[in-house]
């Protein structure tokens, strides 16, 4: 992890970070996120969905996704933009409901990766924030996170890229 290289992956030979799950998401929520990303993108525009965890769940381990939020947003084939007013509306609702944004899923038209805009435009600059990029406008869904890109914000401009084969272990899908 190099502080000055925003978006850089862990350098070769760097110590491995803990490999436990970062968060748990019920499959029914994951499938509904995939469907919303696919339908909103409609094969022509990027889309973003924020995943929500509760502040009332005890323990400090991996967060559990309890809901998701699809914000009003502008988008084209190569960008999305959430107006500040929408962000504020979300913030106040989350505060009222004792929930927090744990991360985001957003679509790309082609391959999944994190662009500079993705690095700089996350909802919250808090360590642990998870970002998953879904390729090809989510037309293939989110099954096994195939071809997805996942990364976690570590603070101070640093990101921890999650190797593709590890995504299923770091984002645990709860079948119940």
């Amino acid at each position: 992890m190099r502080r000055e290289d925003k978006g850089a992956a862990l350098p070769r030979g760097a110590p491995l970070l803990p490999r436990g799950p970062l968060l748990t998401i019920p499959r029914v929520l994951l499938m509904s996120i995939a469907e919303r990303l696919r339908s909103c993108s409609a094969g022509v525009r990027e889309c973003v969905v924020y995943i929500v965890a509760s502040l009332d769940v005890p323990g400090t381990g991996a967060g559990r996704v309890v809901a998701w939020y699809h914000p009003a947003h502008e988008a084209s084939a190569t960008h999305y933009h959430v107006p500040l007013e929408e962000m504020w509306r979300m913030s106040e609702a989350l505060y009222r409901d004792r929930q927090r944004i744990a991360g985001q899923f957003h679509t790309h038209p082609g391959a999944a990766f994190h662009s500079n805009a993705d690095n700089e435009g996350l909802f919250l600059p808090v360590p642990g924030y998870l970002s998953v990029v879904v390729p090809r406008f989510a037309e293939a869904g989110l099954s096994s996170f195939r071809s997805c890109y996942a990364t976690r914000y570590m603070g101070g401009g640093c990101w921890e890229e999650i190797p593709q084969p590890d995504i299923v272990a770091r984002i645990r899908v709860d079948e119940s």
Partner: protein, 103 residues
């Protein structure tokens, strides 16, 4: 307006200290602030308290739908004692394919 012996007017004396709740990432914490200090002092203190001091340059304080000017003194804003301020990003959330950076 009444002027006190120490030169402060009555309005300043009434709002010398505020206990304001700052909300970040859905968590709220109460800060006691000197109403004469610039908003940016509270912003930096709040960013440090929430563990995002390194991001302070990307954050703003919002009261209602108004972003607070960092150079404004809290005393000038007429905030109620029980005001809730939101600490949030300066720019709207966004993403896109432009300006890809090589790893």
């Amino acid at each position: 307006m009444d002027v006190h012996a120490d030169g402060t007017d009555q309005r300043q004396a009434q709002v010398a200290f505020l206990r304001l709740k700052v909300v970040f990432n859905s968590e709220g914490r109460v800060f006691e602030v000197n109403a004469q200090e610039p908003t940016k002092a509270l912003l930096h203190r709040a960013a440090a308290e929430f563990g995002v001091a390194g991001e302070a340059q990307n954050l703003v304080l919002r009261f209602g739908t108004n972003q607070l000017d960092p150079e404004t003194r809290l005393a000038d804003l007429g905030l109620p004692q029980d005001a809730e301020l939101f600490l949030e990003r300066r720019t709207p959330p966004r993403g896109g394919l432009t300006r890809r950076r090589s790893a």
